[in-house]
């Protein structure tokens, strides 16, 4: 240590590092190596930039999940011969696809250029991959919608040539649309989690293991909820069981995620994201229990379905808003990165630091 002539005259040591974030006590997980709860930052400003996304993006995540699950249920009901469920699920999928596509375009800084998404295929960009998944699913959902529309309008049943042509078209389109909807539903429900994780936003990046399960579970619960609202209980007994599975996956994965992330998951417990996350849990668990207990009652099923859908929406908004909070506070970037650097150094990895002598 360097000593100079003035050392003896120095006043008492002041706290060396600025500490931000008020007086709230911080939970400390002994397994997470945090070298020092205090940290340096540049005037408390964020290091990584928060995503510039408004409500359209979490709304898209909710509606996209709803569309994916409804597409899967529609295809499934087609296979099982549940006519009312099939029709309602397909119409629901089409509506959700349309609304979610609108939300996506509305969020762009230059909405008139939304077709630029289609000028390339980029495997390193989950948004590009997702655009193609969404397009393929939309085409399938659109085809399924056309089949249902033809059926509702009574087309394709007559003896005239155009009617016969429509009838033949429906015969081909019905199975193709179901296979397409089922095939692209699962990737559509899961890719949005990768989209969030493939960023420098601390909460999203570190949640990559559990977030796909939270999102697919949430999508399944929401779409089963929609089916329970639109379709009489006689055709939704399996859907209600699926709703329970979806809700259980969502809630379990969410808690595993929050526990593993420790300090980085703090924004999920505070403020508006915290309230949304708690609402999501109550609504999802309540909806799933309601579906199990009251599912045979038309009103009870519809109310449970509504709770499941609201729970799914709250989950998406909570995760997106909490991630943006985790980017705004440099604490999450600095402490986590210093801890992982220190852990690597302690393990003998000494050549991969961005800072060198």
């Amino acid at each position: 240590m360097t000593v100079n002539a003035f050392d003896a005259d120095r006043g008492p040591e002041l706290p060396r590092r600025r500490r931000r974030g008020g007086g709230e006590g911080r939970r400390r997980d002994p397994n997470v190596m945090v070298p020092d709860a205090q940290f340096a930052s540049y005037y408390g400003r964020h290091i990584v930039k928060p995503a510039p996304w408004g409500n359209e993006i979490p709304a898209y995540f909710f509606l996209g999940g709803l569309a994916a699950g409804s597409g899967l249920i529609g295809a499934w009901a087609h296979g099982c011969g549940y006519d009312v469920l099939r029709r309602n699920a397909r119409l629901g999928a089409m509506a959700a696809v349309g609304l979610s596509g609108g939300a996506l375009v509305a969020d762009l800084g230059r909405p008139e250029r939304f077709l630029n998404m289609m000028r390339t295929v980029k495997l390193t960009s989950p948004m590009s991959v997702g655009t193609w998944i969404f397009s393929a699913f939309s085409a399938s959902a659109g085809l399924a919608f056309a089949v249902e529309a033809a059926d509702l309008l009574g087309l394709g049943r007559g003896d005239s040539l155009p009617q016969k042509a429509i009838g033949a078209g429906v015969k081909v389109a019905a199975p193709v649309s179901s296979v397409g909807s089922a095939a692209f539903a699962a990737p559509l429900a899961a890719y949005t989690a990768v989209l969030l994780s493939d960023t420098a936003t601390p909460l999203w990046q570190e949640s990559y293991r559990e977030l796909p399960f939270v999102f697919t579970g949430s999508a399944l619960a929401a779409s089963c909820g929609l089916a329970m609202i639109t379709t009489p209980p006689a055709q939704t007994s399996e859907v209600r069981r699926l709703a329970l599975m979806g809700a259980a996956t969502d809630v379990t994965a969410y808690h595993l995620m929050a526990r593993r992330l420790g300090e980085i998951a703090e924004p999920l417990a505070h403020g508006r994201p915290g309230r949304l996350a708690r609402a999501a849990e109550v609504l999802t668990i309540g909806g799933a229990l309601g579906a199990t207990v009251l599912g045979r009652n038309r009103i009870g099923a519809a109310l449970s379905g509504l709770a499941l859908m609201a729970g799914s929406a709250c989950t998406r908004f909570a995760v997106v808003e909490a991630g943006i909070e985790s980017a705004k506070d440099p604490k999450y970037t600095v402490l986590h990165q210093k801890a992982r650097l220190a852990a690597r150094r302690a393990a003998g990895m000494r050549s991969d630091s961005i800072t060198t002598a």
């Binding site: 990584v48 697919t216 000494r350």
Partner: protein, 317 residues
């Protein structure tokens, strides 16, 4: 997997990976030596002038020393940070810098009979920050339209007329550099509103064999421009010189191709820990873990299909 892995992490030549052939140029970059920065902000002004960047915000005073810009963004492609420090912080910085030598980092030598410099009572840190032009650039990897591209100089540039303003590059940058340009506060029109913006390393000037505006304007050669290898060499040499003078707080930031972004195109000499300047201490490009992310999502998607199949079979039983 070798080829793909190289595309996502580790040392590589990014211009070659991007497909540049015979017209590929030597990789260009900056060396920003903050030890001789005087905080004049000529780089900020020259950058704004050359690139016709609009004003930041509403001219309010941020109350952060002499910095009223705040950070890099859509309208600020060079940003000068100001930090005031007292003796205890300087002593801390000197210790943390000396510890990097003890860690046996690449190119570090044992501290020979180095001079012991006096710790001053007070110092200014002034540092001109800029886009890092990463070897593995998060913004470029996630861009869904191809608006962001790798130039023949190994730099990362946005094509403003292709960008549709999805905003995905903004959270993807580990350094918080790129930003979507929002409309001006007084609703006056500005160019390129709604699209992502950042330093181009003066792509237009490089094409004409000119030095980027900020480096050209810098009066102290704190900002140097040249071939990337040369910039890295100069950075490490300068750290050695400062360490030999007992100024062990000096360290290179971004000069290691084995770091989380495969090395940065812009290399810095810092005099304290990176977070003091608002730089991330251990940035890792998220795309490096993309295969694991897709794998986890694949399991979740399979689970969803399995649940549906289970319900289907349960019915038939």
């Amino acid at each position: 997997m070798g080829f793909w892995h190289e595309q996502l992490a580790g040392p590589t030549d990014p211009a070659r990976d991007a497909g540049w052939g015979t017209d590929r140029q030597p990789r260009k970059g900056f060396f920003t030596d903050t030890s001789i920065c005087i905080g004049c902000k000529a780089c900020e002004v020259a950058c704004k002038e050359w690139n016709t960047l609009p004003m930041d915000g509403d001219l309010s005073i941020l109350g952060m020393s002499y910095d009223n810009t705040g950070d890099l963004g859509a309208t600020t492609w060079r940003h000068v940070a100001f930090v005031e420090q007292t003796a205890d912080r300087i002593a801390d910085a000197r210790r943390s810098g000396a510890a990097l030598v003890d860690l046996g980092m690449p190119s570090a030598r044992p501290p020979d009979e180095a001079a012991v410099a006096e710790v001053p009572d007070f110092r200014w840190l002034m540092a001109s920050d800029v886009c890092k032009h990463c070897t593995h650039a998060g913004c470029l990897d996630v861009c869904p339209t191809g608006a962001l591209f790798r130039s023949e100089f190994g730099t990362v540039v946005v094509q403003a007329d292709v960008c549709n303003g999805c905003g995905y590059c903004v959270p993807a940058c580990p350094f918080g550099v790129i930003e979507r340009r929002e409309p001006l506060p007084d609703k006056r029109s500005a160019e390129r509103v709604g699209v992502a913006q950042k330093c181009t390393l003066c792509y237009d000037r490089l094409d004409a064999d000119l030095t980027p505006a900020c480096a050209k304007a810098c009066p102290t050669t704190s900002i140097q421009f040249g071939d990337h290898d040369e910039m890295r060499r100069r950075a490490h040499e300068r750290v050695e010189v400062l360490h030999a003078q007992g100024l062990t707080e000096a360290r290179v930031y971004g000069g290691n191709e084995h770091d989380g972004v495969g090395g940065t195109g812009s290399v810095f000499l810092l005099l304290d820990e990176p977070e003091v300047y608002g730089l991330p201490p251990d940035p890792i490009v998220a795309t490096a873990r993309l295969p694991e992310m897709f794998r986890a999502a694949g399991f979740a998607a399979t689970g969803l299909l399995a649940a549906a199949a289970f319900a289907f079979l349960g019915r038939r039983r």
